[in-house]
């Protein structure tokens, strides 16, 4: 089972978590206080640049029967759609620019260039996903309802098609998101089965407009070039879908992005909430251009800690969050885009299989672990199996050395994970050794038995020969 007690998992006391929360609050406050003209300029310029790219792309596509114009127009439009989706739509709808008090750049009024209505996405994403991040059964973004991304979820035969479902989801990501959000909106508004409910009407209106725009009106406007324009629009949407999919998967499903059980939610303090966001998401390394193109979601950890702080400030927030991770000896999950995606990709394919093919459990798997991961492992400083509620306290008091006596460094989750890795590796090596020895012994036994059988057969043959001679 995934993490039920984040304190125990993180190797922190309630007081530690409280202080950690206060330190994060002060990061938040300092960014809030320094928001100003520069940030406002940043978003206004981004909007202007995005609009310019889009207009340029659409204009170039009037000549889309020419190969180069097609390529150029499609590239411009793809980039425009990516920026619109990631840096503008996503971030503005999070309220990152609400502080400007500008009704045109406000979470309550922004509508994005994606199939699903912004309002439905806001409820599903801002509310369901960001409040209950990675809590199994509460955060519907965990696998988007079609993928099994943690072994906490029971395997069903449908998961066998996961590799295909994954490809399909990537290619049609905006539709996946739209349907997903529509479904959640219907559940939340209590109108799941009413045909003419407001969520249904809103959804129908939005998808009609979006489809008509890219696949009817714009192609029609370009007249004889309608076919190549249509292809260009479809390609731009496809490119945007792939990119959005990749960014989101790298932010949530690489190893190290932990999952939680509903028990963790009970009486969760704000410090624990912060901690859950920190441990539940993952970053990827990006330069300024890639950061911009990902809507600064290469800083997914920072985004999950402060979803409503302006995205252009995440890079500086990241420095301070990393310092906190060092201070509290917490892991800061990051890696190259390729590595992060491959880890997610591995999980998708691994978990397509039934549990009997999986070696690890939800307590110590690469994609999901829990506080039990550290139990039952005999380490010099590790406790035995936790079975009382006060286990976490005892852990810190008696077994786990919170400070390294030699270096004076705090020892927390990061050390524990490293030590557990060593111990688990040692354990695995030992088990392998034992298995190998057993195998050798068995083979030896089999060989002996075979030899005995052979001798026996030879003796019988000799006896038969003697009998025949007589």
């Amino acid at each position: 089972m995934a993490i039920t007690d984040i304190k125990a998992f993180a190797h922190l006391t309630a007081a530690d978590i409280e202080t950690l929360g206060q330190e994060l609050d002060s990061i938040r406050r300092s960014v809030e206080l320094s928001r100003g003209e520069q940030d406002a300029k940043y978003i206004r310029r981004t909007i202007a640049a995005q609009r310019a790219l889009e207009v340029a792309g659409r204009a170039v596509l009037f000549g889309s029967r020419n190969r180069w114009a097609w390529l150029g127009g499609t590239a411009l439009l793809s980039v425009a759609k990516i920026i619109e989706n990631m840096e503008l739509g996503h971030n503005i709808s999070h309220g990152q620019w609400d502080w400007m008090n500008d009704p045109e750049i406000h979470s309550s009024s922004w509508e994005w260039d994606m199939t699903g209505p912004s309002s439905q996405w806001r409820r599903a994403h801002n509310y369901s996903h960001h409040t209950y991040t990675n809590v199994l059964g509460k955060d519907e973004d965990l696998g988007f309802g079609i993928l099994r991304m943690t072994r906490d979820e029971e395997w069903r035969p449908v998961h066998l098609v996961q590799p295909f479902a994954n490809v399909l989801l990537a290619a049609t990501f905006e539709w996946g998101i739209a349907l997903h959000d529509w479904d959640i909106e219907k559940q939340l508004s209590g109108t799941p089965k009413q045909l003419m409910s407001e969520p249904n009407k809103e959804f129908a209106r939005k998808i009609t407009r979006q489809v008509a725009k890219d696949f009817v009106f714009y192609p029609a406007l370009t007249g004889p070039a309608w076919k190549s324009t249509l292809k260009a629009n479809a390609t731009a949407n496809f490119v945007r879908n792939l990119w959005a999919y990749a960014v989101i998967f790298c932010g949530h499903f690489p190893d190290g992005a932990e999952k939680f059980t509903v028990e963790q939610l009970e009486g969760e303090t704000s410090g624990e909430w912060y901690l859950r966001q920190m441990l539940g998401s993952a970053n990827f390394k990006a330069g300024p251009v890639m950061a911009f193109m990902s809507g600064n979601l290469c800083y997914q950890i920072e985004h999950h800690l402060f979803p409503d702080l302006p995205s252009n400030r995440y890079s500086e927030v990241a420095v301070r969050v990393r310092e906190l991770c060092d201070k509290y000896d917490l892991p800061y999950t990051t890696g190259s885009l390729g590595k992060q995606y491959l880890l997610a990709f591995r999980t998708i394919h691994k978990l397509a299989l039934p549990d009997r093919f999986l070696r690890r459990t939800a307590d110590d798997a690469p994609e999901t672990s829990s506080e039990r991961k550290f139990a039952g492992i005999s380490m010099p400083t590790m406790p035995s199996m936790p079975n009382t509620e006060r286990w976490a306290d005892r852990w810190n008091e008696t077994h786990w050395l919170p400070v390294d006596p030699e270096t004076g460094q705090r020892r927390g989750l990061r050390s524990a994970l490293n030590e557990a890795k060593v111990v688990l590796k040692e354990k695995a090596r030992h088990e392998k050794e034992v298995l190998r020895e057993a195998k050798v012994a068995l083979q030896e036994k089999a060989r002996q038995e075979q030899a005995t059988l052979r001798r026996k057969a030879a003796r019988e043959r000799a006896l038969r020969r003697i009998r025949r001679k007589r």
Binding site: R35, W99, H106, S108
Partner: protein, 385 residues
């Protein structure tokens, strides 16, 4: 949809074409058919979203204006002459006020000010185009009013809201009028006087205006000029530093017919309270029209009465109760989400009064959108929900 129950109709087509621009329909007029048609390809944006990048005034989605002149009135007050953008509602009446938003350090600040111009005012100094004007008096703690009086440059783009308010002079004006103003309370009355002057319908008007010294009188020259040009208009200045406060008892001596006059009063709250009493005692409260400026001040106190405008319900709350809880306890269907200030699902607009962000103590006021789950009332306030 084009096909309604009755089949195909021109009106149906028009409605269908206008639909995407329906939100701006009121202000856009005939342009909306075109706007709606173009919006089919610019969806989810409106054509205005592109146009306003070229010229901020070309957006009817959010009304903008450009300050064309800042004219000093007194040491601490100024008139702002503004050219409104597309879709401004010119059908305002003298005495009404407008909402105006100014960008300072990346943030828009929203306030309401009385229009001082007559309807359909054109200024020959500015190419005889239709313009509007407001007058602003810098308040000691008024961060925005001080900025407007001494910090704002011609050419600045501002946000605007349609003129509104019931403190208006009917046309034709009543035969006998009394204006009682003090300080910046003269601004809505100035619009009324100018309208009468412009239409040459100055009836029997008495204007009593109080200011501290002669230099503090806004529009002093213009008042004197009107006094000279129109025998039926008499302007009386009460300079309080020399003559003391204007006493309502003096009305009987100076303007014995005050009871017969339709009266418009605007100024500090204490003065208006007194006037209201006086008129009620005289049993002519129906002849009195009062405009209470929301004086630009900081949020007062903790907690208060939260009124939910659309539902008409209200709740008494302390300074620690969130507006969301307040609404729910009053049985108002509030939008809600995470209840911790991260998801922006519960955002509503403050119609009047102040609120305070419970996380950091930041103050929010009229025109701001607030997250109700992490905001509490700072004094009485009204929410648009």
């Amino acid at each position: 949809m084009v096909l309604k129950k009755g089949g195909f109709s021109v009106r149906g087509v028009r409605e269908w074409l206008e639909a995407p621009a329906a939100d701006v329909a009121e202000r856009g007029g005939r342009l909306n058919v075109l706007r709606g048609a173009v919006a089919r390809v610019t969806t989810p944006l409106l054509p205005d979203d592109y146009l306003h990048l070229a010229n901020p005034l070309w957006s009817a989605r959010e009304l903008r204006g450009r300050i064309v002149e800042v004219r000093k009135e007194t040491a601490d007050s100024a008139t702002l002459v503004i050219k409104p953008g597309w879709g401004f509602d010119w059908k305002y009446e003298p005495g009404q006020y407008i909402g105006i938003g100014i960008l300072i350090d990346g943030r828009w600040h929203w306030r309401s000010y009385s229009l001082t111009c007559p309807p359909n005012w054109t200024d020959p100094e500015h190419g005889s185009k239709r313009l509007i004007s407001i007058a602003v008096k810098a308040m000691p703690e008024g961060f925005l009013s001080s900025h407007l009086v001494s910090g704002v440059a011609a050419g600045t783009i501002v946000r605007l809201a349609a003129p509104q308010g019931g403190f208006v002079l009917p046309f034709p004006p009543p035969e006998k009028v009394l204006f009682l103003t003090a300080g910046s309370g003269i601004t809505p009355v100035m619009s009324m006087l100018r309208a009468m002057d412009r239409r040459d319908r100055v009836t029997d008007v008495v204007h009593v205006h109080s200011a501290r010294t002669d230099d503090d009188v806004m529009f002093r020259a213009e008042l004197r000029d009107m006094h000279d040009r129109h025998p039926s208009f008499s302007s009386h200045l009460q300079l309080t530093s020399e003559q003391g406060k204007f006493s309502l008892a003096e009305l009987d001596e100076q303007f014995p017919d005050w009871r017969e006059r339709q009266t418009w009063a605007c100024g500090p709250a204490a003065m208006l309270d007194e006037i209201e009493h006086h008129w009620r005692d005289a049993d002519i409260a129906d002849r009195l029209h009062v405009e209470r400026f929301e004086i630009e001040r900081s949020a007062v106190g903790e907690g208060g009465t939260v009124t939910f405008g659309k539902t008409g319900r209200s709740a008494e709350v302390d300074g620690a109760t969130s507006l969301l809880e307040a609404g729910e306890s009053a049985g108002v269907q509030m939008p809600f989400g995470c209840r911790m200030g991260i998801c922006q699902t519960c955002v509503v607009t403050i119609t009047s009064g102040h609120t305070r962000d419970l996380r950091n103590g930041d103050e929010r006021r009229e025109g701001d959108k607030v997250q109700t789950c992490i905001s509490a009332a700072a004094g009485d306030c009204t929410l648009d929900v």
